[in-house]
Symmetry: C2
Subunit: 371 residues, 2 copies
């Protein structure tokens, strides 16, 4: 295989969706995949099967590649440092990725920067929980995602499963929020940064269900504040690539940082069809230190609805019904086996009228989920 422009670690749908703009820009990806036929391995010819926790596999995928980026945030920091020492720039770097890997580190750093966060504290015991006060949210500091590793606790007994898990925890106040927002930016090593429109992210069962771009009825001052906050976090933490700052919009009209993700993010999938430059293209451009693309919406409204594993077990069988029912739906399937609640695809519809777009996108996603 020819020398790759970049290595991508992890064969999930995020890596798969990087391949489309890589094709457009003539960029060659070498992929480290968990198996020969995982989502991204189906579409990247230069794929190595291996384990992202094994340094030798990381060395194999980066061989000849000046840059390495990620489908997920689980590569051990010491391996990232070893790759960097060998001349393969991890983007984002381990010093930045730390704050997406470890929630306590993230809270400490954001608090030190004066970035608005929920009230929080490290938790080591039931006493710490009681001291923090109820209700609260317990989170594992590492490895949680999509509602996993998160416990909403309203009384002392509720903390027991989390404490019994034997993992480092932090507590956060249970925020009285109006809705969840997401502010995304792309940042180059040089420091150039572009911000996407702030979107509304609607969750169900701790998992992103749908995203409306831009966030409807968001006060312009708050939208500006959210975008500026994301730019500042990316800059202060020296993030390279895409950064998603997941935010709470509180009932009393403030924004608080919920989570950080340093990669393309589910709340940015709308940008594939809804923005001039998708988050996947800008991630590639950013990590390769290429000039960033325009983030303007193509249409007034974009709605992205996730396809989560449901009653439909054969997505392909449903494709004719979906495409017939919603001719302007942009359907994205990830080549993954359907399991209950698993993210197996998404649908985006764009247009002038939010209700029309929302109805169409939900209809298409429902046909792929429930039939």
């Amino acid at each position: 295989m020819p020398i790759p422009h970049l290595a991508v670690v992890g064969g999930g749908q995020l890596a798969r969706m990087m391949q489309q703009p890589a094709i457009a820009l003539g960029l060659r990806i070498r992929l480290l995949a968990e198996g020969p036929d995982v989502s991204a391995a189906q579409v990247v010819p230069d794929t190595i099967v291996g384990d992202h926790t094994v340094l030798a596999d990381l060395e194999a995928v980066t061989d000849g590649a000046p840059v390495v980026t990620f489908d997920h945030e689980h590569v051990p920091p010491e391996h990232l440092r070893a790759l960097a020492d060998a001349g393969h720039a991890p983007r984002p770097g381990p010093h930045a990725l730390l704050f997406a890997q470890d929630k306590q580190q993230m809270r400490e750093r954001l608090t030190a920067l004066g970035v608005p966060c929920p009230r929080w504290a490290p938790i080591a015991s039931a006493d710490d929980v009681a001291t923090f006060g109820f209700p609260l949210v317990l989170k594992t500091t590492r490895g949680g995602y999509d509602g996993k590793g998160v416990w909403v606790v309203r009384e002392p007994a509720g903390a027991e499963p989390a404490l019994a898990a034997g993992v480092p925890l932090i507590a956060e106040e249970l925020v009285d929020f109006r809705r969840e927002l997401s502010a995304q930016v792309a940042r180059r090593p040089s420091g150039d940064v572009v911000a996407y429109p702030v979107v509304e992210s609607r969750q169900a069962g701790g998992v992103c269900a749908e995203v409306v771009a831009p966030a409807p009825d968001l006060a312009p001052a708050l939208a500006d504040e959210a975008a500026a906050l994301a730019v500042r976090v990316a800059t202060e933490l020296d993030v390279v690539g895409m950064l998603a700052v997941e935010l709470f919009e509180t009932a009393d009209g403030r924004i608080l940082v919920n989570e950080l993700a340093m990669r393309p993010h589910n709340t940015g999938h709308w940008s594939i069809d809804g923005a001039v430059t998708s988050q996947f293209e800008n991630h590639l451009r950013a990590v390769l230190d290429l000039p960033l693309g325009a983030t303007a919406p193509r249409q007034p409204w974009s709605v992205m609805v996730n396809v989560l594993g449901g009653a439909v077990t054969d997505l392909e069988e449903q494709l004719p019904a979906v495409l017939a029912a919603v001719p302007d739906a942009k359907v994205h399937l990830y080549g993954k086996a359907v399991k209950p609640g698993r993210k197996v695809g998404h649908v985006t519809v764009t247009g002038d009228d939010l209700e029309t777009v929302l109805t169409a996108a939900r209809r298409a996603a429902t046909l792929l989920t429930d039939g």
Copy 2:
């Protein structure tokens, strides 16, 4: 490799650009490529290297694939019939493809259908040329493209190179045209058909240089006539997949058919970034008998400018300059070595104001062509 949804014959940029919507829709392509690293082979994992004129190679690429489609029109009809007999549907089929492969067959059929064409005649000798009358255009009936196999003849001596070439020829009147248009449709085996907006195609040296979508200042009645004509040709000829009808708009306000192409076509590249459903996605949908996608423009204007091999020999080196100069340019590079005049990429810009969009797209393409 898993069983493919379809086989694609030919590893050029058209096959490469089919891979992007194939990724989105979860469709697996098996490719027959001219070499291990041609344009589409760089991005399709399941690639077989072989020769599209060798039946055994066609059998290998279609093994297990219910449908086979094409990057070009050069597969011998007898091989297509053999594939069809073996249960691999060629789409378009040989009975349709014939009219894209052979200009005399095309002219005879369109004339029989009453479709407006330039005056034409088969040519076997200098006498036939003189009888037809000057000026005229001589065309090889097979294998011509991008100005190759075409001679503009203004006097008897001008016909000598064409007659000396020893290939079947037809003569066509030299049409006094205002501009060239292209009408594209996608058609399913069931007969369902969708039409794209009619575009203006601007040629330089017999090669498409830029496309404006929709064609500016085109009389609505003429636009409707062009689209209806393309629908009728697709239907009468039983085309499956994309059909491009290249048209002359004459100085006196009529349209005449110039050429037919039964595949995604250069005059439809704008649709990747400028239409709700690209020609590549609708080609895949059509040949797989899936419902067709909306063809509406995403923005009032789209301009596509080809990147033809020029002074710039390393496109990658120019990428930073282009992306910096035109942040809303959509750059598409085909992974092909630069040779003078060769199509190695294209750039599309979309927006509200035609002059702005045209200037931006030309600027981006010029940076990739001339530096």
